[in-house]
C-alpha cells in the first residue's frame, strides 16, 4: 500500500524537474529567437 505513495513522491520530483527543464528550454528558445531578430535588425541598418 505504501509503495504507491513512495512511487508518487519520487514521480512528483521527477515531473517537477522535467517541467522545469521544459520551461527553461522554451525560454532559452525564445531568447535565441529574440537575439536572432536583433542581429537581423543590426545587419539591416548596415
Amino acid at each position: 500500500m505504501s509503495e504507491k505513495y513512495v512511487a508518487a513522491a519520487y514521480l512528483v520530483v521527477f515531473v517537477a524537474v522535467l517541467a522545469y527543464v521544459v520551461i527553461i528550454g522554451t525560454k532559452l528558445a525564445r531568447l535565441e529567437a529574440a537575439l536572432a531578430e536583433l542581429v537581423e535588425r543590426v545587419r539591416a541598418r548596415g
Binding site: 513512495v6 513522491a9 520530483v13 525560454k27 529574440a34 535588425r41
Partner: protein
Amino acid sequence: MLPPLAVVLFATAISLIFFWVPEDAEDPAQRIFYFHVPIALTSYACFGWGAWKALRVLWKRDHRADVESYVAIHQGTIFGALTLVTGSLWARATWGHWWLWSSRQLVLFLVLFLFYCAYFMLRFSVEPGPRRANLSAVYALFGVVLTPVSFLAIRLAEDFIHPTVFTRDGPQMTGSMFAAFCVSLAAMLTLFATFYSIELAGKRIDAQIRELREALS
C-alpha cells in the same frame, strides 16, 4: 560541469535508496525521507542564499545581486512546494492524513512557503528599478528569519508527530541510511546550483536583449 554532476549524483542516490539501503520495517514509506528532507534543506539553502544576495543589494548597492536573490528565492519556492507535496504523501502513507493542522512544524513550513509566494506578488507589483530591488531585498531578509524558526519547530514542537532524525547525539539512522541521505542532499544542492546558474544566465541575457532593443529603437 554542474548538469552532468547532478545527473550522476541523482543516479547514485536513486540506486542507493532503492537497491542498497534496507527497508524500514516500521515504516515502509520511509524511503520518501531520502528526498523529502534534502529537498526541504535545499529550500532553506535557497532562501538563505537569496537573503545573502538581498543583503548585498542593501549593503553594497550591488544591483546585480537583485536578480540573483530573486532567482534563489524562485528556486526555494519550487523546492518548498516539493517539500510540501512529498511530505504530504509521506504523512498520508504513515499517519493516514494528507495534512495535520495541529502539527506546528507543518503549519510553520506552510507559512514560510506562503511568505515567499507573497514575495513574487510584492516584486511584480512594483516597477523595475532600485525601489523594487530594495523592497524585494528587505522582504527577503525578513523571510530568512522564518527559516530557523521552521527548522527548530521540528525539534521544539510538543506534538512529536513529525520525526526528528538529527538530534544532539547525531543522525538517528544506520550508516547506509546516512550515506544515502548525504548523496541525496548533494544531488539536491547540485540540482539547485545547476538550475540557479541556468535561470540566472537566462535572466541576464533577457535583460541585455531588452537593453539592446531599446538602444536600437
